[in-house]
C-alpha cells in the first residue's frame, strides 16, 4: 500500500467523520416543519373560520346598520316634520302671546285711565254730596225760617185784624157817641141807652200763635217703614192732632234723618211720604213737627 493511499484513507476517514458530525448536528437542530406546517395550517383554518364568521357577523351588522340607518332616516324625517310643525306652532303662539301682551298693556292703560276717571268722579260725587248736604241743611234752615216767618205773619195778621176790629169798634163808638151828643143837643134828655159796639172785641193774636205752636209740637215715633215706596207710619193720629199735609221731622238722637209729609190720617196712626232722606229711617225713630 502506498503512502498516498494511506493518506487518502486517513483524509477520507477524517472528512467523513467531520461531514457526518456536521450532518448529525444539522439534523439534530433542524425544526419539525411538518408539525409547524400542521400547526400553522390549523391556525389558518381556524383563522379562516373566524374570518368567515366575522365576515358573516359583519354582513349582518352592516344589514342591521343599514336598516337602522333607514329607520333613523325615517324617524329623522318625521321628527323634522314635527319640528317644523312645532316651530310653526311656536311662532303662532309667540305671535298670540305678543298680541295678548299688547292687549294687556292697552287694557292696563285703559284701566289706569278708568281708575283715574273714577277717582275724579268719586271726588266730584263726594263734593256734590257735600254740596247737597249743605244745600239740604240750608233748605231745612230756610224751611224753619219760613215757618217762623209764616207764624210771625199769621201773628201780625191776627194783630192787624184785631187792630182793625178795634178801629171799627172805636169808629162805631165814636158814631154812637156822636149820635148821643146830637140827641142831647137836640133837647132830649133822653139818655141813650148804653149800646155796645157792633164789632166785638177779639182775642189777642198770641192765642193763634199759641195754637200753631201747640200743633207744631206734636211728637211721635216711627211705627212702620216701607222703604221701597218711601212710605212710613207714625204712632200718633188724628186723636193727637195730626192732620193731612203736616210735615214731621224724623230724627235719631241729634241726627236729622228725613222729613215725613202726612198724606193719610187715622184715629191713632198716620202715614206719610219720606222727603229729604239723609239716612234710611228705622222703626222707633223720633218724629216731631219741630226740630
Amino acid at each position: 500500500m502506498s503512502n498516498l493511499t494511506k493518506i487518502l484513507i486517513v483524509l477520507l476517514t477524517l472528512s467523513s467523520i467531520m461531514l457526518c458530525g456536521i450532518v448529525v448536528t444539522y439534523v439534530a437542530n433542524a425544526d419539525n416543519f411538518k408539525e409547524k406546517y400542521e400547526r400553522t395550517n390549523s391556525l389558518q383554518a381556524s383563522a379562516q373560520q373566524e374570518k368567515e364568521s366575522l365576515s358573516t357577523q359583519l354582513k349582518e351588522k352592516i344589514q342591521q346598520n343599514d336598516e337602522r340607518e333607514k329607520s333613523d332616516k325615517d324617524q329623522i324625517a318625521k321628527l323634522k316634520i314635527q319640528a317644523d310643525e312645532l316651530n310653526a306652532k311656536l311662532n303662532a303662539s309667540t305671535r298670540q302671546v305678543n298680541e295678548l301682551i299688547e292687549r294687556t298693556n292697552s287694557f292696563a292703560a285703559t284701566t289706569k285711565d278708568f281708575q283715574a276717571t273714577t277717582e275724579k268722579q268719586a271726588q266730584l260725587l263726594a263734593s256734590a254730596q257735600e254740596e247737597v248736604k249743605q244745600l239740604k241743611a240750608e233748605q231745612i234752615k230756610l224751611t224753619k225760617e219760613l215757618e217762623q216767618t209764616s207764624t210771625a205773619v199769621v201773628e201780625k195778621t191776627a194783630l192787624l185784624e184785631a187792630a182793625e176790629a178795634d178801629k171799627r169798634r172805636l169808629v162805631e163808638e165814636k158814631a154812637d157817641l156822636q149820635n148821643r151828643m146830637d140827641k142831647m143837643l137836640q133837647g132830649g134828655a133822653r139818655v141813650a141807652a148804653a149800646g155796645g159796639p157792633v164789632t166785638q172785641e177779639r182775642g189777642k193774636a198770641i192765642a193763634a200763635a199759641q195754637t200753631i205752636t201747640d200743633s207744631s209740637n206734636i211728637k211721635g215715633l216711627i211705627s212702620e217703614i216701607d222703604a221701597k215706596r218711601s212710605w212710613a207710619a207714625l204712632s200718633i193720629g188724628q186723636a193727637d192732632g195730626v192732620k193731612e199735609g203736616m210735615k214731621f221731622h224724623v230724627t235719631r238722637g241729634d241726627e236729622f234723618i228725613c222729613d215725613l209729609l202726612i198724606v193719610d190720617v187715622d184715629t191713632d196712626k198716620a202715614a206719610g211720604v219720606l222727603e229729604l232722606v239723609q239716612q234710611s229711617p228705622k222703626v222707633g225713630d223720633n218724629a216731631s213737627t219741630i226740630l
Binding site: 500500500m1 494511506k6 484513507i9 486517513v10 457526518c20 439534523v27 411538518k34
Partner: protein, 52 residues
C-alpha cells in the same frame, strides 16, 4: 491489491489492518449518520424520502 500480487497471481492480502479499521470506522460513522438522518426523517415526516 498491489501490482505485484496481480502480476504473481497470488491471493491479495491486506497490507495493514490499521487502515482497514480506519475505513471501517469511517464507514460506520457514515452508516450511523445515515441511520440517524433516516430516523429523524421518519419521526418528523412519516417517510424516509419524499413528502406525502
Amino acid at each position: 491489491m498491489s501490482p505485484e500480487a496481480l502480476i504473481k497471481g497470488t491471493k491479495p492480502q491486506a497490507i495493514s489492518n490499521l487502515y482497514t479499521v480506519i475505513l471501517a470506522v469511517a464507514f460506520g460513522v457514515v452508516v450511523a449518520t445515515a441511520a440517524f438522518v433516516a430516523y429523524k426523517c421518519y419521526f418528523y415526516y412519516g417517510t424516509f424520502w419524499s413528502a406525502q
